[in-house]
Symmetry: C2
DNA sequence: GTCAATGCAAATCGTTTGCATGAAC
DNA sequence: GTTCATGCAAACGATTTGCATTGAC
């Protein structure tokens, strides 16, 4: 488990540095993603906030604005999954790719150094400066076969 | 270059087999993708048709329906690119992955046997039966750097 | 003649924007 | 007090749907 306090501190620092204002809403959104097991869409983040903290009167527009902001300052990342649109995850998790069961939706995260290395090489060969990548293997998991 | 006649024949066969009707519109949409150099969005396909064949009075809804249909019967594939939404490509092209410039949208296709092999291995290790996969490397291309 | 596919317009979904209000500094 | 961030509602673009009509079989 990551130390979410640290990441929150990081956010405070960034906001101050940019001469912007620190708001509870941005913290809440970041916090949701820090503790999320899954990758969440903007709407899922919104619902999560609503259900966890009924008192909080956050608007969906604010969630979108917070997500854009957090991605811009590199605290979170968005991934385009095949099926249901843009999903977000905290950057404090280490990099990994995804095995996705198309039957039950189970997601297994994995990392393969050799693949990572070869991606670097392909990028170099094509003179690309890689900023991110996403790789998904779709199939049927053991339980569903 | 692929033999587009063959793919069109394939479409005719599938339609007949399913007891559906063969229409000019589906053929036009498939044909656009067969001859497209690029990956196209639904709207780009629509515009292409309009400009090429001004007489044709196709509706955008029909394009969307044709694309869904063609993907369902596995003649085309959609990819979710980071920037501008869902794009389609013909399946008669051989399998490949994508390098995508997040600045100008340029797409370079590549294939790496070693990566393909390792993906197989990862699937096996996790007892997954792979049906498909998608991999995109995002970055800045040479021209945009 | 039957039934699926089409074109059009209206509806819907996810996301963004304008603007008056509220909160951080 | 100033300025940025918020909430709300309206606007927006992409996609889907309802429905009457057309076209394939």
């Amino acid at each position: 488990m990551i130390n979410s306090e640290e990441v929150i501190e990081e956010l405070k620092k960034i906001v101050k540095q940019k001469g912007l204002k620190y708001t509870e809403q941005r913290e809440i959104v970041l916090n949701i993603l820090l503790h999320a097991v899954d990758h969440l869409t903007a709407e899922e983040v919104y619902n999560e906030i609503k259900s966890k903290d009924g008192a909080s009167n956050i608007g969906i527009a604010t969630v979108y604005r917070a997500l854009s902001f957090l991605e811009e300052v590199d605290l979170i990342t968005s991934i385009n999954f095949g099926t249901d649109g843009k999903k977000y995850e905290s950057n404090s998790k280490s990099h990994h790719d995804h095995l996705i069961c198309t039957q039950c939706g189970k997601i297994i995260e994995f990392l393969d150094d050799e693949i990572e290395k070869r991606q670097e090489r392909i990028a170099k060969k094509n003179k690309f400066k890689i900023t991110s990548h996403s790789m998904q293997l779709y199939g049927i998991c053991e339980d569903c076969q």
